[in-house]
């Protein structure tokens, strides 16, 4: 049985983007997936703007430190240091919200989705907002460009050099962390090089560092200019040449392609497809857009077994809901809190290996939380769950009021203290107009099915009787709204 264009286009939108937007609902049946993909590519053509969230106070302070540093080595007073930490934390929060907003609202879905992949691939925890926004810019600019260029720019970013301790990698005292992760996680993957290769590569990266402004600097006196042998090649290599050697390895193309396949197509790898793609990646000199075109315009991408086969990551879930149901959030912190509770807070990956994804997203508490989100948006449920503390981010503080109190009438008595945390509502204002309008010509008895077809990528074995039983039957519009919320509260909706 051939699958409908609607299903295929929705599949494409979930994988090459963050799900179909309500504005696209009429287009889903109108065009072929090839036409749809072409439009996606075109929309992502233009260079993204630099996202700058650091405020003037912080910029001033950093300049001040530089000035002080030039004059004499003097430590900053503790009060300023505290203030800097706090401003950085706020800055990274703003960066998170800004980027998520782009994922929801921007037409450049393909670019943001690919950047989201790289954000997990080049995973970096760094509490300096300048460094973080610099790295995000590198990733967004090069998301659809050349992998070699991206790798080189990431490797020269202040965020990564600091995170992987390359500031401590000196000729007389090498630190192998950076070289190790570049080989293990960014290019070739474990088991394809020796410990000796790592030691030698680390020598080549000595002297690579960054200044306070986040600019790359090469510290000549810390660099080891001697001869190194890496993966069978010998020479007086520097860091850039090591990266070139890594790109020359076919294994790098294999590793990257496999990871991209598992992220965008199916987490059960298909060796034949991956080999075919990796050969082309290597021959095309690591052009990312060509790889994506190979994937998204192939027939096999639209095979039934690839559709609905992935578990949405928390960010994909949260962004996807907002694309279908445009909403104003009075309480934006809720998005941060949900990212934390569900285990994917942007800019805070668990470690340099990124988020493992797949089934690891799901445990008893995270699944139940996911299923409750639509009801929270509807203010029929409250957020009464407390995320774990992140000591790296909080520097010993306890969580300060993450969320505003509910402003709804009569909520006073509902705002009970629960384990030191107030129960709160998200206070979302959903704009239903466009969504409801889309279903205006659907006969009442077919409504449930039509809604479910738009929202679900797996054949629902959910009985429509259950949905009907729980949906509000008092009017057409109410039925559409409540049935939508109920369908979004099912296990099926967790998949794409």
């Amino acid at each position: 049985m051939s699958l409908s264009n609607q299903l295929k286009n929705q599949h494409l939108m979930w994988r090459a983007g963050f799900g179909p937007a309500v504005e696209q609902l009429p287009d889903l049946t109108e065009y072929t997936p090839k036409q749809f993909y072409k439009a996606l590519v075109k929309a992502s053509d233009k260079k993204p703007d630099y996202i700058d969230v650091a405020d003037d106070y912080l910029k001033g302070l950093v300049m001040g430190i530089e000035e002080a540093g030039r004059q004499q080595k003097k430590e900053l007073p503790q009060e300023d240091r505290k203030k800097i930490q706090q401003k950085n934390r706020e800055g990274i929060r703003n960066l998170n919200m800004y980027w998520m907003h782009e994922m929801v609202n921007s037409a450049t879905q393909l670019r943001e989705k690919m950047a989201f992949f790289w954000h997990g691939h080049f995973a970096c925890r760094n509490l300096n907002v300048f460094y973080q926004q610099g790295l995000l810019d590198v990733i967004r600019r090069n998301a659809l460009g050349n992998f070699g260029t991206l790798l080189k720019e990431v490797s020269r970013s202040a965020a990564m050099l600091n995170f992987l301790n390359n500031q401590q990698n000196r000729k007389d005292h090498p630190n192998e962390n950076f070289a190790r992760e570049v080989m293990e996680l960014f290019t070739m993957g474990r088991g394809n090089y020796t410990e000796h290769d790592i030691k030698e590569a680390a020598r080549a990266f000595t002297g690579w560092g960054a200044n306070l402004k986040g600019e790359f600097i090469f510290r000549r006196f810390q660099h080891d200019f001697g001869s190194k042998t890496i993966l069978g090649r010998t020479g007086n290599f520097d860091g850039g040449e090591v990266l070139d050697i890594l790109l020359e390895q076919k294994q790098t193309a294999n590793y990257i392609t496999q990871k991209i396949y598992k992220f965008f197509v199916n987490d059960k790898p298909d060796a034949d497809k991956i080999n075919w793609l990796a050969d082309r990646v290597y021959r095309n000199n690591y052009e990312i857009s060509k790889l994506l075109e190979d994937i998204f315009t192939s027939d096999w991408f639209y095979d039934e077994r690839n559709i609905g086969a992935l578990i949405k990551s928390p960010v994909e879930l949260l962004v996807g809901i907002q694309r279908m149901l445009p909403m104003k959030l009075e309480n934006e912190e809720a998005l941060m809190l949900l990212q934390r509770i569900l285990g994917q807070l942007l800019f805070y990956p668990p470690n340099v290996a990124g988020w493992p994804g797949g089934k690891t997203w799901i445990d008893s508490s995270s699944l139940m939380m996911r299923l409750r989100i639509p009801m929270m948006i509807n203010d029929a449920d409250e957020m009464n769950v407390r995320p774990k503390d992140d000591d790296d981010a909080m520097m010993g503080r306890t969580d300060d009021g993450m969320m505003n109190e509910s402003k709804k009438q009569g909520s006073k008595q509902n705002a009970k203290e629960y384990a030191g945390m107030r129960r709160q509502q998200i206070n979302a204002d959903v704009d239903w107009k466009l969504y409801v309008k889309h279903f205006e010509s659907v006969p009442r008895e077919k409504l449930g099915e039509a809604i479910s077809k738009n929202l679900l990528q797996v054949k629902s074995r959910l009985s429509m009787d259950v949905i009907k039983q729980y949906a509000d039957q008092t009017g057409r519009e109410n039925f559409i709204k409540t049935a939508t919320m109920q369908i979004m509260s099912t296990p099926e909706y967790q998949l794409c």
Binding site: Q78, G343, S364, S366, R372, G396, R461, P491
Partner: protein, 399 residues
């Protein structure tokens, strides 16, 4: 009692086909000892990096007082354990447990190439990987994978929290996070979830959606199970009304029930005392002390102290020298405290930290924490530690 069980089986059978509660324990009337083998572990995570040197204090070491002119705790104020060691003054209950032979202190615990990031170091403690490896499953989770093949419920390991730690996530089986059994997943939409579940039928070949339904079914049936168990023999002992106090009270009630739980997991923090450490540690230790003291007393009254092993850990210790803000920064090796009526070694079971032999101002570890894990897995839980830790670590002798 019988009715309750029957009711549970009915609810549970919605979830999966085979449905018998593994009967590890029979119902015991208060005070009766359970047969050997029915042992439980309570893991107490001190989040944020607890300062081990101000927990077990080297009261006769000049280097300690020199490195900590303000933060060092005077010998006279410390609770004396031996000539060389004293406990933090807030840990009076621990001192009593020590005097009664229920406390073992393992010093200098850590791992090679220590990481000073909270998250990363906690990751290493949770997964029991080497510092150079990134694993995605936790050691308690892999214990579930190994022990629980065919178990129908993830209640063998329970975390008293809203969010599940990596520690308890196995490849195939994950523990369950429950902060308050009364409140579990009782959401406005619970009835809807149950109806959705009832109407789901598995199809041939496991689809991803079946995994989600399976998790959902296990969660809802476990929620009922844990709630009912927690009310079977609720403890009537008095606990401090704090987060940890309430959690340990729940754990005690579950230990007295016939639930199949082997591992309980609970966290307290934040011990990340960069600034003004004294007050913060005092406050946290008071909560810790009062809760653990009540828990141990409760277990003793009910004759279960020998069956329960509680131990503490933290992602790292702190630097030997205090910083300029009357706090301490991230360090390396630390101590672990073990509490049980069934200890083979008691008191200080190895030497105090050597403050004359530091690595750039940090303690050098002598014992890999994975040796402690292996010991608990093998000797307490009777599990295949080598399969779970993916390496054979030598056992210690405290149990």
């Amino acid at each position: 009692m019988y009715l309750r069980r029957k009711e549970f089986i009915q609810i549970g059978s919605l979830a999966t086909a085979s449905m018998m509660v593994p009967k590890f324990l029979k119902a015991f009337e208060g005070g009766v000892m359970v047969p050997p083998g029915n042992k439980a572990v309570v893991i107490l995570q001190l989040s944020g990096g607890n300062d081990g040197l101000n927990t077990v204090i080297p009261v006769r070491n000049d280097l300690y007082y020199k490195a900590r002119p303000k933060l060092g705790i005077e010998r006279a104020k410390a609770l004396s354990l031996t000539d060389d060691a004293g406990l933090h003054p807030a840990l009076t209950g621990f001192k009593e447990i020590y005097d009664e032979g229920g406390l073992a202190i393992l010093n200098n615990v850590g791992y090679p190439n220590p990481d000073r990031s909270h998250f990363r170091s906690m990751d290493i403690w949770h997964t029991a990987s080497q510092a150079t490896e990134y694993w995605t499953t936790g050691w308690v989770g892999r214990y579930l994978d190994a022990q629980c093949n065919g178990c129908d419920k993830p209640t063998q390991a329970i975390e008293l929290d809203d969010v599940l730690s990596l520690s308890l996530k196995g490849e195939n089986i994950k523990g369950i996070a429950v902060k308050d059994p009364r409140r579990l997943y009782g959401t406005a939409n619970e009835k809807f979830f149950r109806d959705v579940m009832k109407n789901h039928t598995d199809q041939k070949g496991e689809q991803p959606v079946d995994y989600l339904y399976k998790t959902m079914a296990e969660t809802l049936s476990s929620a009922d199970y844990i709630f009912k168990q927690s009310r079977m023999h609720p403890t009537n002992a008095t606990y401090p009304n704090t987060g940890l106090g309430n959690s340990l009270k729940t754990i005690a009630s579950l230990i007295y029930s016939d639930i199949n739980t082997k591992v309980y997991y609970v966290s307290v923090g934040s011990f990340d005392t960069h600034i003004a450490q004294e007050g913060q540690q005092q406050r946290l230790f008071t909560e810790l002390n009062d809760s653990v003291k009540a828990f141990v007393k409760d277990l003793k009254v009910n004759g279960r102290f020998n069956d329960v092993l509680l131990f503490t850990f933290s992602e790292f210790g702190r630097r030997v020298a205090q910083n300029a803000s009357n706090g301490t920064d991230h360090g390396t090796a630390n101590n672990m405290l073990f509490i049980s009526g069934g200890l083979k070694q008691k008191g200080l079971i190895n030497e105090m930290p050597n403050l004359a032999d530091l690595d750039e101002g940090d303690l050098k570890f002598k014992i890999d924490f994975k040796n402690a894990y292996a010991t608990v897995l093998k000797k307490w839980l009777n599990a295949d530690d080598k399969a779970i830790l993916m390496k054979q670590y030598e056992y210690l002798n405290f149990i």
